[in-house]
């Protein structure tokens, strides 16, 4: 092994160490070998946790919210990147507005979502004042609702900014010149989008989409503010078990954390599979 490859390996280990320690601790804690309430090794607790319907309901609900909000954000990012691409004027302003949500903390975005979308929120009052609702209370439930619409919209708005930034970069660095090539080869605008812009865009933003999905699936703050208590989203359930007065339930939290991490790993694996099978997704 050369000196530079040894250095590379050491650097990779240094970066991975906190994750490996965390995963190792979670595995040990979930089988009762360490942590408060540890009662000796065994998979009984893990099996028991994974057998609880509330866990799977929470996981399914979290995946629904993550998938819906990420899909909305990605669609918006692609649309904005494809539509507003000139260097100046309205396009530039549109790009600026698109990335404005980036520095806003998720918690602040969630509170804003609550104030805006709640049944006594600004939107309800506005619609009522316009005569579109008899009274603000007639507003459909968008927060604490089982479908998680308010949470989905809030998270989509936040992730849209991140994905739009990546999409702008893809279009600016590679897309424009390749589109020119396609045009002079005879491709009309629709064909340019279908055969060049779209394939480049989705390939370019897919890693960011996966990152957004994984983040949203395990995000806590916005979920805590806007999600219903039934089903209880996986991140909320995890924290509930971790902070339970019964210390023996803390191991459950680590088992749930491992479940969440498995979901993340599966998403990354799906991304890697898609990367190696690009051709199947060509229009």
């Amino acid at each position: 092994m050369t000196r530079s490859s040894r250095r590379g390996l050491l650097a990779a280990l240094a970066v991975a160490l906190p994750v490996l320690v965390g995963v190792g601790y979670s595995v040990l804690a979930s089988v009762g070998l360490t942590g408060p309430g540890a009662a000796g090794g065994g998979s009984a607790r893990l099996v028991a946790v994974l057998g609880e319907p509330v866990v799977w309901a929470g996981l399914a609900w979290s995946l629904w919210v993550a998938a819906a909000s990420t899909a909305l954000a990605a669609a918006g990012a692609v649309a904005v990147a494809a539509l507003f691409r000139r260097g100046a004027g309205i396009d530039r302003m549109a790009r600026l507005f698109a990335v404005l949500p980036l520095p806003i903390p998720h918690l602040a975005a969630a509170v804003a979502g609550l104030l805006l979308l709640g049944q006594s929120g600004l939107l309800a009052r506005l619609l009522a004042s316009l005569g579109l609702l008899a009274d603000p209370g007639g507003m459909p439930a968008l927060v604490y609702d089982r479908a998680g619409l308010g949470l989905i919209l809030t998270l989509a708005w936040k992730e849209f900014a991140f994905l739009a930034l990546v999409a702008f970069s893809v279009v600016a660095t590679r897309g424009e010149r390749l589109e020119e090539v396609a045009r002079t080869l005879g491709a009309k605008p629709a064909a340019v989008f279908r055969r060049v812009t779209w394939p480049l865009l989705w390939r370019g933003i897919l890693p960011a989409v996966v990152a957004a999905f994984v983040f949203v699936a395990s995000t806590y703050e916005a979920t805590a503010v806007l999600a219903p208590s039934d089903p209880l989203a996986l991140p909320l359930l995890t924290l509930e078990r971790y902070t339970d007065a019964d210390l023996s339930r803390r191991g459950d939290a680590f088992a749930l954390a491992l479940l969440g991490m498995t979901v993340s790993l599966l998403a990354v694996a799906a991304h890697e599979w898609a990367r190696s099978h690009w051709d199947r997704f060509e229009p």
Binding site: A182, T184, L185, G186, R203, E282
Partner: protein, 345 residues
């Protein structure tokens, strides 16, 4: 009578806040090759992009194959533009890259396969059809981009410095591929370069863009032997520019008298000539002293002081003189161009 492949009339193209290109005009026959030369920032690329429909025109008219395309978008001009670096679609295989123009024109799969196979064979990439662009070498990418351009069967192919980023061996390879494809498919070529040698080899005619205008458009031999202006002579790097004046039908300078055409205006003028107009000879009309000798692959380049004027001479035969030697030179006066204005060496 066949319509010209490309006709450019009174073309003006804005260039940011600068005046840009003004009143550019030329006609190109099918299968003809025009090379555009000019200093960096002269607007060569802008002109190509304007012809391709990728840059807005301020004025002028463009026809391709006799059709007025001035108001048409890039996709409807029948003019393919190739960037300096070969921009292959990274998400497509080499086969699909070359098939791209055919697919968007709705050809059948069997026709596409046959056509792409022929094109890939002609650029010697037939074994690499399934590869991705990033796995190809620089020369292979250029050849693939040329094959893709030819697949569109354009009337005009616009090439922006196609050989600039290549090392010498690849330049020869890509140049040969370009000429071979052009001979087969017969598009008119407009090639931008800053390399005089490429221009001389590739161009049926060469255009010089200076100060936003087409300063001269001529066949290579005429261009190098008869530059139209002092600016063109300077741009072409003619090594010998001798200041003098025209009076009574003669150019007078330290080199002696040189007859000029009767209608030449009197006044300050410059004699411009290449190294091929001067040669050492025992009883030459010019006597000088060798100031420096530089050896090169084609012989020695001498700097010779003739009556206080330093002239450049290339000699490849016989004994090469040394600095300080006296040298007698013969001047082929019919290879000397007298240009209005002063441009001393």
């Amino acid at each position: 009578m066949t319509a010209p492949a490309l006709e450019v009339r009174g073309l003006s193209v804005p260039f940011g806040d600068a005046p840009g290109l003004r009143d550019i005009g030329f006609t190109l026959d099918p299968g003809e090759r025009l090379v555009l030369l000019g200093a960096s920032g002269a607007g060569k690329t802008t002109l190509l992009r304007a012809i391709a429909g990728l840059a807005p025109l301020a004025a002028g008219r463009l026809t391709v194959g006799g059709q007025d395309v001035t108001a048409r978008p890039a996709e409807s001009r029948d003019a393919v533009y190739l960037h300096q670096t070969p921009l292959l679609f990274p998400h497509l295989s080499i086969f699909e890259n070359v098939a791209f123009p055919l697919r968007i024109r709705g050809y059948q799969d069997s026709e596409i396969r046959a056509s792409v196979a022929e094109l890939l064979e002609s650029v010697r990439l037939d074994g690499l059809a399934g590869r991705r662009p990033h796995t190809l070498s620089g020369g292979q990418k250029h050849r693939a981009a040329l094959a893709r351009a030819m697949a569109a069967r354009p009337a005009v192919l616009l090439l922006d410095e196609p050989l600039a980023a290549l090392d010498p061996s690849l330049r020869d390879e890509v140049r040969a591929t370009l000429l071979s494809l052009q001979a087969h498919y017969r598009p008119a070529l407009v090639i931008v370069t800053h390399d005089l040698e490429d221009a001389a080899v590739l161009g049926d005619r060469i255009g010089i863009l200076l100060g936003g205008t087409l300063a001269q458009l001529d066949q290579p031999d005429r261009l190098f032997q008869r530059p139209a202006s002092l600016a063109v002579a300077r741009f072409l790097g003619l090594p010998n520019l001798v200041a003098g004046s025209v009076a009574a039908g003669q150019f007078q300078s330290a080199l002696g008298l040189i007859p000029v055409e009767a209608e030449s205006p009197s006044g300050p003028a410059t004699a411009a000539f290449g190294t091929d107009a001067l040669r050492p000879e025992p009883c030459g009309s010019l006597q000088g002293i060798v100031r420096s000798v530089q050896y090169g692959p084609r012989g020695a380049t001498l700097r010779v002081d003739v009556a206080g004027i330093e002239l450049e001479v290339v000699t490849g035969a016989g004994a090469i003189p040394h600095p300080g030697d006296e040298l007698s030179l013969g001047l082929e006066r019919d290879r000397v161009t007298i240009l209005p204005g002063i441009g001393d060496v």
